[in-house]
């Protein structure tokens, strides 16, 4: 028989600290090796959780549709986010516009588990990103290179993802961003102390963070990949290039068979070192989302933010 343990009051956090950076970054660590899926309603959220997603990103339109529709893309309707929160037990993330701390405050009230200050939405501030230290909810931000990643971390981001080129089904930009970040991390590992000041200047990033990168041989927070991932093989590719987890936006629900593709993408991400498994799960998934050539795009989302 199980004894009942008194649990009527754990609200008295006398000696505990909420929302420390370790707690914020810690959640990102828990998502490592997993797939975060964009979902636009509770039905999709359920499919994502059933397929083994580690988290979902709740939004009104996936990047593919944002691109197609044009206009200003904003934070999702709180009712939609709540509907998705009620559906799943895994973490729920949501996007705020770059610099739009008003939207971020609403997302914090909704108790989303991570806020993505995202270039996929239309930027609200051309000068400043959100001061992420002032929030209890952790933030993830996109980056195209190491300097951008370190500037976002200096503002309080607890997770970095490549920007890639969202909504294109084309992984080439995500690969460029990942390679750029990991190449510079390797170079900094070889740099002398005096060269580090040069790196800080070139990257336009705080010297303390540049030093930290050299000590760790990686970013001070987890590095995930996002933007244009459409197939299990894409996941295996970016994981092998140093991503620790993947965000898949339009790639799942804009494909012919979302359930099968979602499961396959989860398996391929976990087993990215085993091509036999990636081959096995890649069979018979139906059509992937239609891709777009990056050079033919009217809007380059990755150029938003700085």
């Amino acid at each position: 028989m199980l004894e009942y343990v008194n649990q009527d009051d754990h609200s008295d956090f006398g000696i505990s600290e909420l929302s420390t950076f370790r707690v914020k970054e810690g959640l990102a660590e828990m998502l490592v090796g997993g797939v975060i899926m964009d979902v636009v309603d509770a039905t999709q959220a359920k499919i994502a959780e059933d397929a083994g997603a580690v988290a979902v990103m709740a939004l009104e339109r996936v990047p593919f549709d944002i691109r197609r529709d044009g206009g200003v893309a904003r934070m999702s309707d709180p009712a939609l986010i709540e509907e998705i929160q009620a559906q799943v037990t895994i973490p729920v993330m949501a996007k705020a516009r770059i610099g739009h701390f008003g939207e971020a405050q609403i997302l914090q009230v909704l108790e989303v588990d991570y806020i993505d200050e995202s270039e996929v939405l239309t930027p609200a501030d051309e000068e400043f990103h959100i001061d992420k230290w002032s929030f209890r909810v952790p933030f993830v931000c996109g980056a195209t290179n190491l300097g951008e990643a370190l500037r976002r971390i200096s503002e309080g981001a607890a997770m970095i993802r490549s920007k890639g080129e969202a909504g294109t089904g084309n992984v080439v930009e995500a690969v460029r961003h990942l390679r750029s970040i990991t190449r510079d991390i390797r170079s900094i590992g070889q740099a002398s102390q005096s060269e580090l000041y040069g790196w800080a200047k070139e990257l336009r990033a705080p010297i303390a963070l540049v030093q930290r990168v050299r000590e760790l041989g990686r970013l001070p927070v987890p590095l995930f990949c996002a933007g244009g991932i459409a197939t299990p093989a894409d996941c295996a590719l970016v994981m092998s290039l140093g991503a620790e987890a993947v965000f898949v936006g339009s790639g799942i629900f804009k494909s012919e068979n979302p359930q099968a593709r979602a499961s396959a993408i989860v398996e391929a991400t976990a087993h990215y070192k085993e091509p036999e498994i990636v081959a096995k799960v890649s069979r018979g998934l139906g059509m992937a989302m239609s891709g777009q050539e990056v050079s033919k795009l009217e809007v380059r989302l990755a150029e938003r933010g700085w």
Binding site: Q7, G14, S16, R22, G26, E29, M30, V54, T89, V137
Partner: protein, 207 residues
């Protein structure tokens, strides 16, 4: 003394690399466990933090469920942190009905029982068995232990008196993440459980 201990780390999803690095520091041989063939050499297993629903599905799809259940039933030493503890528990509330419950810890756990990420916290926890100094415990969307069986020892409670470290025979579980700090004492305790288990033939069998 026995040969070097091989401690497996379930490496399908979650912060398994953190555990792996700590095991290296603790002078045992860590082994990445992703499919059944990885189980042959291990003397114990760590199930890391992560998403228990995802890990559960990946354990099934990689064919690990059956062999692992068998080894755990035969008292293989196992240490589960957060999601890992959820997988070891006998009953899970607010989980998916199809998620794995190895049941080596006779306990009822509620997934995310402390609340969403905004309620995640760290605090000092006293764990008598590892020494007088408290441990900095990091709780992230942590499971809440709501009940324990008569054979489950409660090794520590948090400030609100909720049990946070449990042991039953060779199974150890904690609802926080010792792998996110520099304090390796719980890992060392687990290693000594694994050492004892592998050096000594238990004079009793599991009933």
């Amino acid at each position: 003394m026995s040969a070097q201990l091989n401690i497996g780390v379930l490496a399908l999803q979650g912060d398994w690399r953190k555990h792996f690095a700590i095991l290296e520091e603790c002078d045992v041989t860590p082994v990445e466990v992703r499919d059944p063939s990885d189980l042959s050499s291990i003397d114990g297993l760590i199930i890391p933090g992560g998403e228990s629903t995802t890990m559960s599905m990946l354990i099934k799809s990689s064919g690990l469920e059956e062999p692992l259940a068998k080894m755990l039933k035969n008292d293989m030493p196992v240490f589960g942190t957060c999601a890992g503890m959820i997988l070891l528990a006998s009953k899970v509330i607010d989980g998916r009905s199809d998620q794995i419950r190895f049941g080596v810890l006779d306990a009822v756990v509620r997934r995310n029982g402390f609340g969403r990420q905004v309620a995640s916290f760290e605090e000092e926890v006293d764990i008598e068995m590892i020494g007088p100094d408290p441990m900095r415990a990091v709780f992230i969307r942590a499971p809440l232990v709501e009940g324990t069986g008569p054979n489950t020892q409660i090794l520590a409670r948090c400030a609100s008196q909720i049990p946070v470290v449990l042991r039953q025979r060779n199974a150890l579980g904690c609802s926080f993440h010792p792998e996110l700090t520099e304090d390796f004492r719980l890992h060392k305790m687990f290693i000594s459980i694994a050492q004892d288990s592998n050096n000594v033939v238990l004079p009793f069998s599991k009933d």
